[in-house]
Amino acid sequence: MSSKAPKGSDNTTRNLVIGMVVLVVAVGAIFSVLSNKENTSASLPSSVSKADGYGIVFNGDLTGVPVVDIWEDFQCPVCARFEQTNSAYLEKIIEEKKAKVVFHTLSFLGPESALSANAAACAADENKFLGFHKAFYGNQPAENSGAVTVDYLVSLGQSLGITSDKYKSCVANLDYKEWVNNVAASGSEKNINSTPTVLVNGKEIRRATSNTDLGDYFDPAAFAKAVEGK
C-alpha cells in the first residue's frame, strides 16, 4: 500500500477523495441502520402490542379463534383489491368475534404510506380504524402522487365523523411516526416480502398464481375457507 511515488499532491487528493467517500458511506449506512431500529419507547396507538408485531388488533382478548395477520401498505393497489374483496367478511368476523384480526400497516412504498399509516393509527384511537381503512382503499390515490396530505387525511377523517382536534394534531404532527417505523421493523424481522401478505395462524394463505387462479387472496369464498380452516 505504501507508495514511493514522488507526486505528493496526487496522494493528498487521492486520500482526500477516499476519505470523503468513506465518510459519506459510513454516515449514510450508520444513520440508516439506526433509524431502522425498533424504538421501544415509541408511543403506541390503542390496541397495539409488541407481541402482535405492533399491529392494530381486533378481538385481542379472544382465544381459540383463528388469528388473521394482514400486512399491507396503504399505497399498494393490490392491497386495495384485497380490501375490496374481503373487507365485508373481515368486518363480519371481527363483529361476530369469530377471529382475532391484526392489521400491520407497512410503509415501504414511500412517505405517503407512512403518513397514511400514522393517520390510520390516529383513527384507531377514535375507534374508527376499520372505517378509515375502508374509506382510504375505496378511493386510493395513485402511488406517491402527492395526493395524500395532512389535509386529505383530516378531511377523510371528517367524512367518517372524526372531528376531534386530537385527530387533526395527531395526523399533522405524525404522532405515531415511531410506531410506523416499529411496524416496518417488525415486518422485516418476520420476513414479509410483499404486500398484501396475509397469515392465518402464522401461516401464509395461498397466493394467486395467475389471472385465473386467484388463490386465497382474491376469491372471497376461498379466503373465508382459509380463515375458518374448513
Partner: protein, 158 residues
Amino acid sequence: MKKAQPWVGLLARLILGGVLLVAGYLKAFTPDKSMMAVRAYDVLPIWLANILGIILPWLEIGAGLLLIIGVAVRYAAIFGAALMVVFIIAISQAWARGLSIDCGCFGGGGTIDPSKTRYLEEILRDTGLAVLGFYLLRYPVTKFAVEKNKSHELVQGE
C-alpha cells in the same frame, strides 16, 4: 487500440460508476424496500439480509463515486464486478428455484407476480457491467481520472 484504451476505460468507469451510484441512490432512502428485496432472494438469514439491505446501497454509492471521480479505480472496479457476479448468482438461483421476485436492483424488489419476472434481462445487464469492472481491473489507467498515480493500485499498471 492503444490510443483508444484510456477512452474505453473512461466510458467503462462512467457506465459502471453511474449505474452503481444511481442504483445505490434509488435504494438508500427506502431501506424497508431494499431489505425486503434482499430477503426475497431467500438465501441469507433474515437478520443478515436486513443488514445487507440497509448497507449495500451505501456501498454501491461509494464505489460509484470512486469510479466516476477516478480514484482507487481498481478497488472500486473489482468491488463492482464482484457485486455483479454475486447478483448474477443470486438471480440465477431465484430463477432456478422458481421464486417470483424482482431483482430490486434499482429500488423495488420483493415478491412479484410470476408474469413480471425478468431474470434473463437482469442477468445479461449484470454480466455486461461485470465485464466493464474486469476491464477496468486489467486497464485501470483512463482519461480524466483524478488519480494519475498508478502505484497505489492493486498491481502495477502496464
